[in-house]
Symmetry: C2
């Protein structure tokens, strides 16, 4: 079994995608994260949904649960508006989550080994330098449990 | 808005759930991870799907991509069988991913602050000491984007 046989379509954004648009994709498809490419379509990083939440919650609120308690719903709306006007590149942490990248003709074992080594929830599959799909850990387990 | 209004049902396993059963749940529901409780139903940890993959790929394969390349499909089947006879507790890393826990009457801002602080993909919502649901980062963004 080759990596390309397990790969599935997945939502891609690039570094210049609007941050609010990225949040809407995560929300609409209930995704745990997005694959981020650079401007020429090369794989760049993973943007976890929790990182977007982290971006919209100011540090002084994150670190002070009693302050979070007294913030009103209206404040919540205003916090979400922090996304507007930002790009995906602004949401990424200083050390973004590395995205393992394999070629379509790599084997499933190589794919699993890369996922395990990098503790990554997904692996991007490349053909001719472009991402043609993604294999999630759950997809890999589906293959494994089917084989067992 | 209170935490309980955003909470949704989510797959729970406990420390003694069969490891292969846990992998099958992850695969069938295409989940990025499972909520693990201890034997009395109290929240314990998050088990990421990638951690299950890590468990089934022996360290000598993880760290040697050239070895991964030569392993046959048959080896893959055998590796997956490593799950059989193990429990969820065996899959968890030494320092499991902490599971943020909030009460149903905590506010959505408190929930978002806990998620952001702990960089967690989900938060468990408790009522009377039992998990009644889970809020994922994507669910929270859905609420936020709807409000914006």
């Amino acid at each position: 079994m080759l990596a390309r046989e397990l790969a599935e379509p997945y939502a891609l954004v690039d570094l210049d995608t609007d941050a609010l648009e990225a949040a809407r994709i995560l929300a609409a498809d209930r995704l745990p994260g997005l694959v981020v490419t650079d401007q020429d379509g090369s794989p760049y990083a993973i943007l976890p949904a929790s990182q977007v939440v982290r971006f919209v919650i100011p540090e002084y609120v994150r670190e002070d649960p009693s302050l979070a308690r007294v913030l009103s719903e209206r404040a919540a709306d205003e916090i979400v508006r922090r996304l507007a006007g930002n790009k995906v590149r602004d949401l990424l942490p200083d050390k973004p989550h590395q995205l393992p990248v394999l070629n379509g003709d790599d084997t499933v074992i190589e794919l699993a080994a890369a996922m395990a080594r990098m503790r990554s929830p997904l692996v991007a599959v490349l053909e001719d330098g472009r991402i043609t799909g993604v294999v999630t850990a759950a997809r890999l387990l589906e293959f494994g449990c089917g084989a067992a």
